[in-house]
Amino acid sequence: MLEIFQFDFMIRAFTAGITIAVIAPLIGSFLIVRRYSLMADTLAHVSLLGISVGLITKVNPIGTAIIASVLGAIGIEKLRGGKKISGESALALFLSGSLAIATVVIGLAKGFSVNLFSFLFGSISTVSLIDLYLIIGLGIIVLATIILFYKELFLVSFDEDLAQANGVPAKALNFILVILAAITVSLSIRTIGVLLIGALTVIPVLAAFQYGRSFRQTILLSVIFSLISVISGLFLSFYFALPSGGIIVVVALVIFLLSLAIKKTG
């Protein structure tokens, strides 16, 4: 069974996958309690624009995806802060808008449609060594930032007005959160895919909500559920030649359904 680890690409896929499995639900927890569930999905679409630009200019597409989604995240927060447009509409605008531009860019550079499929749904064989360094390096930064600002992020998420009234820099923390979300989403493109990363930031967290009493418990549980989904998903992807993103999210869904069922009987 462990022949799977004879392949370098699988070791890279597992390392990348585990890193993402830890940070995606952490970010997701903060996004969901702030009713930003669609933020990850939106930023994923923005990162697709980055990918298409990267493919045309022959720059590492994960790099361009990070740049695009971070800029998108800042844009969404600015629009929301300006109060001319609601948070939800800002997400809708960026989600469909960036997808539209991405398709135009892709259309202009005919010929990489095969490659695109792996970006949309994730593929275990595509994590390059450079990608891996990016994922580990930035993944550690995301994790460290959440730990360092945990008590502030908790306060701002639970009661933004109070945070501000207490002199906690709520606006800066909002920016930090969405920028971390943007980075996380872009790092997940290889193994999970643009269309499915939103699911990995949301579904394990929703399953954890069924059990967690404290916030701390809930986010730790969501990381455990996410790790189970990613690790078993990668195995299944390898042995059944399935796109990794899809099978990972299916496992997460099964865990969520089980959490509902077990909660009800328990």
Binding site: F149, F158, P169, S214, F215
Partner: protein
């Protein structure tokens, strides 16, 4: 007009606030002494919430200044640390935020500890004491979502107390709390006002409660209508200014 009394904890000077050209507050000036127990009252849309937000640094006044123990709000972070804020307990509907009572109370200590620092022993003691004062230590590990309105209100007060403020500001604290709990709640406010010398300010639309409980009343209807003892407040002329002609104040005997 400078008030330099060392007992003054809040100084509001010539505060005006305009929103989209409409005047919400006009030249409001008053001061609050340390240890006071004050109610802010006024009709809906009269600017009392705006005033509260300006004192809390959530809104910037168009003109004028607010000082907390001599430190200007918006210029000095010290000012805000002196205030414990209990926001209006909005109904969160089916919104589910998994958090225990203890986690919520501890979050009130965040600003005092500061960025990039973990809670230390001193913080943990303050959090414990806040829970003891509000008598919620017994359900510290319970989920916030499973508490009644009155219990949640206590948690929010404990959260404010965890920051060891000198002033406690409450926005419509009894909305959604049943009558018996309301009375207990006001008795509790009186207790912490007397025992700890905590300055308490709350906004309410409930005139009756204000007349019975507080030591002073501030009436706001775009401008300052009156500021004095509850007895002065119930004079008819003020009621007219506040709520229009037909309103009469009926004191319920207790």
């Amino acid at each position: 007009m400078h008030i330099t009394d060392k007992n003054t904890c809040i100084e509001v000077e010539n505060v005006s606030f305009r929103y989209d050209g409409d005047s919400v507050l006009e030249n409001v000036t008053f001061s609050v002494n340390a240890g006071e127990y004050m109610g802010i009252i006024g009709p809906n849309g009269g600017g009392k919430t705006t005033l509260l937000k300006i004192i809390l640094g959530l809104l910037e006044p168009t003109t004028g200044t607010v000082k907390i123990f001599g430190n200007e709000v918006g210029k000095s972070k010290k000012a805000l640390l002196q205030i414990g804020y209990v926001p209006q307990r909005i109904s969160r509907g089916d919104f589910h935020f998994p958090a225990t009572v203890e986690e919520i109370v501890a979050s009130g200590r965040t600003a005092r500890r500061g960025l990039l620092k973990w809670f230390n022993k001193e913080d943990k003691t303050a959090i414990e004491e806040a829970m003891e004062t509000t008598e919620i230590t017994g359900y510290r590990n319970r989920s916030m979502n499973k508490l009644s309105g009155g219990e949640q209100q206590k948690v929010f007060i404990a959260r404010a107390l965890a920051g060891e403020p000198k002033i406690l500001i409450l926005d419509e604290p009894v909305v959604g709390v049943d009558i018996t709990s309301q009375e207990k709640f006001y008795a509790f406010l009186q207790k912490i006002n007397q025992q700890f010398g905590l300055t308490i300010i709350f906004v309410s639309h409930d005139i009756d409660v204000i007349a019975h409980q507080v030591k002073s009343v501030l009436c706001i209807n775009r401008e300052l209508v009156c500021h004095g003892s509850p007895k002065e407040f119930i004079k008819e002329e003020f009621m007219e200014k506040l709520y229009g002609k037909k309103v009469k104040f009926i004191l319920h005997g207790h």
